[in-house]
C-alpha cells in the first residue's frame, strides 16, 4: 500500500508538470491549428537556462543550501523562455500561417530538431547533473510510518502548478485577451474582422505557453536533478499524448490528460513487472515509455476528439 | 422506365430536417431540374443520391438497385456521376489528367496486370485517346496541357463535367453548373447539356438560373425547407402560387418568375 501511495504522489507530481506543458499544446492548437512539435524543446530550454544561471553563481559551500538562487534562476529562465517562444513563433510559424497544415507541421518538426541540437551544441550533448536545493527534501509530513514522504518538493510543485492553472483560467475567462483567444480559436477570420489583432493574440498565446513550459521544464529538471538536450522529446511527447487524450484544443482536457498520463506513467513504472507476470510475458522497464505512446495511439484511433474534446471532426 | 426513383427520402441532422419525405422520379434520357430557394435541401438531396450521406429513412432506387447502403465511390460504378457546387478539381494536375482520373473506374483493377510494360502502354494509350474524346465533346481540346487551376472559371466547370462524363454514367447530377457563368458560357452549357442527353445520358440538375432551367428542363421539382413543394413542367411551375411565395415571399403585386 505504501508503494502505491508513493507512486500516486509521484504520479501527481509528474501529472502536474505534464499538465502545464500539455496546456501549451492545446492553446496553440486551438488558435492556429498547429501541433507545435517544438514545445517540448522550449521546456527543455527553460530548464537549461535555469541551469545556466545557477551554474554562474560561485558560492562558498554548496549551491543547494541557497534556495533563493534557484528561485532567481527559475524566474529569469521563465522570462528568457518567453522571449524564445515569441521568437519561435515570429521566425518559424508566422510566415507559414497561410500555408497548409502539413507545411507548418514539417516546420515545427524542423524547429524541434534545431532547438534540440542547438542545446546540445551550446551546453552539452551528454547529461548535465546538478543538485536540487536541500530544502526540497525536507519532510513536511509522512504517512504510513514514514514510508511515504510528502516533501517540500511536492508542495512546491503542487503550489506552482495550481497557481499557473488558476492564472490561466483567469486569463482565458476573465480578461479581454482571453476573450480574443477564445474568439480566434473559433474563427480566426471573423475575429480579425471584429478588430482583433491576430498576430498579437498568437504571440501572446505562445509567450504564455512558453512561460508555463519553462516552469515545467525547470521543475522536471529539479525533480530528476539533471537536464539533457533530448529531455524535450521525452516530456514533449508525453505531454502531447496528454493533450490529445484530453482533447486537443481543450484546456481542461489538457489538464485532465496531463494528470491521467502522469498517473499512468508512475503506475506503469511501478507495476509493470507485476503486469508482466500477470500476462505471462516479461515486460521490461523500457516499456514505460511506450505506455504513453500506446495510450495516445489508441485514443486517436478510437476517439480522436479525446475525453473532453470539441467536435473537431476527424473527417467531414 | 424510371431511371431514378426516390421514395420518401429523409435526412435528419439531429433536430434539423434537411430533407423530409421527398419523393421524385427521373425518367431515362430526360433533363430534370431541381430548384428551390437557398437552404431548401437540394444539395443535401444530391448528397443522398451520391451516398455522401446515408438516408435517415426512405428508399433510393437507381436502375433497379437500392442505393441506400453504398459508399460514394461505389455509386460511380453503378452509373451515377456528379459535379460539385464549389468546384472540386484536381488543381495541380493537367486538364487531361483530370479527365483520365475520371476514367479510373473503367481501367483494369487488378493491381498486377497493368504492370506488364506492354499492357501498361496499351492501357495508357487507350486512356489518353478516351480522355481526348471527352475533352472534344465538351470543347476543351485546346486546354489539354493546362493545369486545372489555371483555367478560367467557366472552363473549370466544364472540365468538371468532362471528368464526370468520363466515368461513363447513366445519370449525371449537376450541382449549380451555371453558377458564375456569363451569358455566352451559359449558352454553351445549354448546348452541352443537350448534347449529353443526346448521347443517352440522363441529366438531373440543381440550378438557380431560371432562364437556363426553363429553357432546357422537361420536368422540374421544387424544394423548400426540405420538402417537395411542387413538380411539373416549366409552365406550371412558373404559374404556381406556392412556388412564387416560397421564392419571393408573400405577394403584394403581380410578378412573374420569368
Amino acid at each position: 500500500m505504501s508503494t502505491f501511495l508513493d507512486h500516486l504522489l509521484n504520479g501527481l507530481l509528474l501529472g502536474g508538470i505534464f499538465a502545464l506543458i500539455a496546456v501549451g499544446y492545446s492553446l496553440v492548437y486551438g488558435i492556429i491549428k498547429l501541433i507545435n512539435f517544438a514545445h517540448g524543446e522550449v521546456a527543455m530550454f527553460g530548464a537549461f537556462f535555469a541551469f545556466f544561471i545557477f551554474s554562474m553563481f560561485d558560492v562558498d559551500g554548496d549551491l543547494k543550501d541557497h534556495p533563493w538562487i534557484y528561485v532567481l534562476a527559475m524566474v529569469v529562465s521563465i522570462f528568457v523562455t518567453m522571449g524564445l517562444g515569441w521568437l519561435l513563433e515570429f521566425l518559424a510559424y508566422r510566415p507559414l500561417r497561410k500555408a497548409s497544415r502539413l507545411s507548418a507541421l514539417i516546420t515545427a518538426i524542423g524547429a524541434s530538431l534545431l532547438l534540440q541540437y542547438l542545446a546540445a551544441v551550446i551546453w552539452s550533448p551528454s547529461v548535465v547533473s546538478f543538485e536540487a536545493p536541500e530544502v526540497f527534501y525536507y519532510e513536511l509530513f509522512s504517512v504510513m510510518d514514514g514510508d511515504v514522504l510528502f516533501e517540500v518538493k511536492h508542495l512546491v510543485v503542487f503550489m506552482l502548478v495550481s497557481f499557473c492553472l488558476t492564472l490561466l483560467w483567469w486569463v482565458v475567462e476573465k480578461t479581454r485577451m482571453g476573450k480574443a483567444m477564445r474568439a480566434c480559436s473559433q474563427d480566426a477570420d471573423a475575429a480579425a474582422l471584429m478588430g482583433i489583432n491576430i498576430n498579437r493574440v498568437v504571440a501572446f498565446t505562445f509567450i504564455f505557453g512558453s512561460a508555463m513550459a519553462a516552469l515545467s521544464g525547470v521543475l522536471y529538471g529539479l525533480h530528476l536533478e539533471q537536464v539533457r538536450y533530448n529531455m524535450g522529446i521525452q516530456i514533449g511527447i508525453v505531454a502531447f499524448a496528454a493533450a490529445v487524450l484530453g482533447g486537443i484544443g481543450s484546456i481542461p482536457g489538457a489538464v485532465l490528460g496531463g494528470f491521467v498520463i502522469g498517473f499512468t506513467q508512475a503506475m506503469a513504472s511501478g507495476y509493470l513487472s507485476d503486469l508482466g507476470d500477470f500476462i505471462g510475458h516479461p515486460l521490461n522497464s523500457g516499456y514505460t515509455e511506450a505506455v504513453a505512446f500506446m495510450i495516445m495511439i489508441l485514443c486517436l484511433i478510437v476517439k480522436p476528439n479525446g475525453l473532453l474534446g470539441k467536435g473537431d471532426a476527424d473527417r467531414a | 422506365m424510371s431511371l431514378l426513383k426516390v421514395k420518401g427520402a429523409c435526412k435528419f441532422f439531429g433536430g434539423v430536417k434537411a430533407v423530409n419525405e421527398v419523393s421524385l422520379t427521373v425518367e431515362e434520357k430526360s433533363i430534370t431540374a431541381l430548384i428551390g430557394p437557398n437552404g431548401a435541401g437540394k444539395t443535401t438531396l444530391f448528397n443522398l443520391l451520391t451516398a455522401v450521406y446515408s438516408p435517415t429513412a426512405g428508399e433510393i432506387i437507381f436502375n433497379g438497385y437500392d442505393m441506400g447502403k453504398l459508399k460514394p465511390n461505389q455509386i460511380v460504378s453503378r452509373g451515377v456521376a456528379r459535379t460539385f457546387q464549389n468546384i472540386r478539381l484536381f488543381d495541380n494536375l493537367t486538364v487531361l489528367d483530370n479527365v483520365r482520373i475520371g476514367l479510373h473506374g473503367k481501367l483494369p483493377v487488378n493491381p498486377f496486370l497493368p504492370w506488364l510494360p506492354w499492357k501498361k502502354k496499351a492501357v495508357e494509350a487507350d486512356a489518353i485517346a478516351s480522355a481526348r474524346q471527352y475533352l472534344e465533346f465538351v470543347g476543351l481540346t485546346d486546354y489539354e496541357d493546362e493545369l486545372a487551376c489555371n483555367l478560367p472559371y467557366g472552363k473549370q466547370r466544364t472540365l468538371e463535367i468532362a471528368r464526370a462524363l468520363a466515368t461513363g454514367p447513366k445519370l449525371l447530377l449537376l450541382d449549380e453548373p451555371a453558377a458564375g457563368m456569363n451569358h455566352t458560357e451559359t449558352e454553351e452549357l445549354i448546348h452541352l447539356i443537350r448534347r449529353t442527353r443526346s448521347a443517352g445520358i440522363t441529366v438531373l440538375l440543381i440550378e438557380h438560373d431560371m432562364k437556363l432551367v426553363m429553357k432546357i428542363s422537361e420536368h422540374i421539382y421544387v424544394l423548400d425547407h426540405g420538402e417537395l413543394l411542387e413538380e411539373g413542367s416549366g409552365e406550371s411551375i412558373q404559374n404556381s402560387e406556392k412556388v412564387r411565395t416560397a421564392y419571393l415571399g408573400e405577394e403584394t403585386e403581380e410578378t412573374h418568375v420569368r
Binding site: 507541421l105 530538431l113 546540445a120 473527417r315 | 484536381f90 488543381d91 495541380n92 479510373h104 501498361k120
Partner: protein, 394 residues
Amino acid sequence: MKRNNINYVLGAILIFPLVVCLLWPTFNQTIDIDNFFGYGKFSYQFTANNFMTIGSYAIIFIVAALGLNVQVGYTGQLNLGYVAFMAVGGYSAALFQDANRELYQNHPFIGICLSLLMAIFFSGLVGLLVCLPTIKLRGDYFAIVTFGFAEVVRQVIKNEEVLRGSIGIKELFLFPKEHVDWINNHFFSLFLNEDMEAAFKPDPWINYGFFLLLTVIVICFVTYLRDSHYGRMLFAIRDNETAAESCGISLSMGKIYASVISAVIGGVAGYMMVMRTSLAHPDSFVFMVSIYALCCLVLGGIGSVRGAVVGAIILMSLGEVLRDVLTAMPKQEGEPLIPSEARFIMFGLVLILMMRFRPNGISTLENDTLRLAKKEKTKGWSKYFQMGDTDESS
C-alpha cells in the same frame, strides 16, 4: 514520359563513386592541422573506403526517401513513423539469417533472395496493419499516430528477448567470407597495386554495388508507378479526396495500397541498413531516421523522384561527412569542441528554410508530376495537402 538528360546525369552520379574509386584507389586525403584555432590537433583522413561507406549510407536513404515519397508525395499522407517499416524489414531479414546460418554459408544467393522476401513480406504486412485503423484520420493526426507507432515498435524491439533487445543481432553478411575473398582476388585486385591492397576493404564496395542494384530497381518501380493510372489514383486522393471518390476511387483502397507499397520499399531500405553495418540494433532505427528520409524529400521536392534521389545524396552524404569531421575535431577538457550532434542542426534548418522559401524543393527543373506549363506559377506542393478540408456542400 519524355526522358530528360537530367536522368542520365543522376545515374552518372550514382555510379560516380564506384568509378572514381576504382580508377583512383589511392584516394586518400588526410587533413592534418596541428593547432586548430588554438585547440589542438585536428586530423581527418578521408579514404576511398570511407567514400564507399558514406555512399552506401546515402543510397539507403535514396530508397527510404522514395518509399516515403509514395505515401507523402503521391498520396498526401505524412508518415512520421517510416522508420518502423525499415525496422521491421531489417529485423525480419536479420532474424531469418540468424536462424539459418548454414543456408547462408552454402547458398548465399538463395539466402539473399529469401531475406529480401522476408523483409518485403513483413514490412508490407506492417504497412497494412498501420493503415487499417488510421484510414479515416486527418493529416496531422495520422502523422502523430505513425510517430507513436514507430516509437512503440522500437521499444518492442529493444525490450523483447526474442529480438535480442539491446544487444542486437550480430554478424550478418551479404556474402560469406569465401565469396568476398574470391571477388577480391579476381576483381578488385586487378585495380590495386600491392601497397593499396593491404589497406583495401572489399566489404563497403560489395555493399555499395548490391545496394546500387536494389536502388535502381526501386527507382524504376516508383517511376513506373507514378506514370501508371495507379499513380494517378494516388495523386487524385492527395489533391482532393471528395473529388476522387466522385470518380470512383475508393479512398480506403488507395490509402492501403500506398501504405503497403511504401512499407515494402521501406523494408528494402531497412534490409540495406542492417546489411551495411552487419548488425541489427534498435538504435539504428530511432525516430530521427524517419526525419532523415523526410528531410531528403523536403530538400529535393516532395512528390518528385528526382528530388528524393538528389535530396538523399546531398543531405545524407553531407551528414556523414560532417559527423566524421566533427568527431575528428580536437577535444577540450574531454569534451569535443563541437559535438557531432551538431550536424542535426543542418537537418532542422533544412526543414524550416525549405518550407519557408522553397516548398517545392530544389529540383524545380521539369518536375515530375507538376508540368510547369510555360512559366506559370504553380500552386506549389504545400497546397496539395488539403487536410481537414473545410469545404462542405450545403
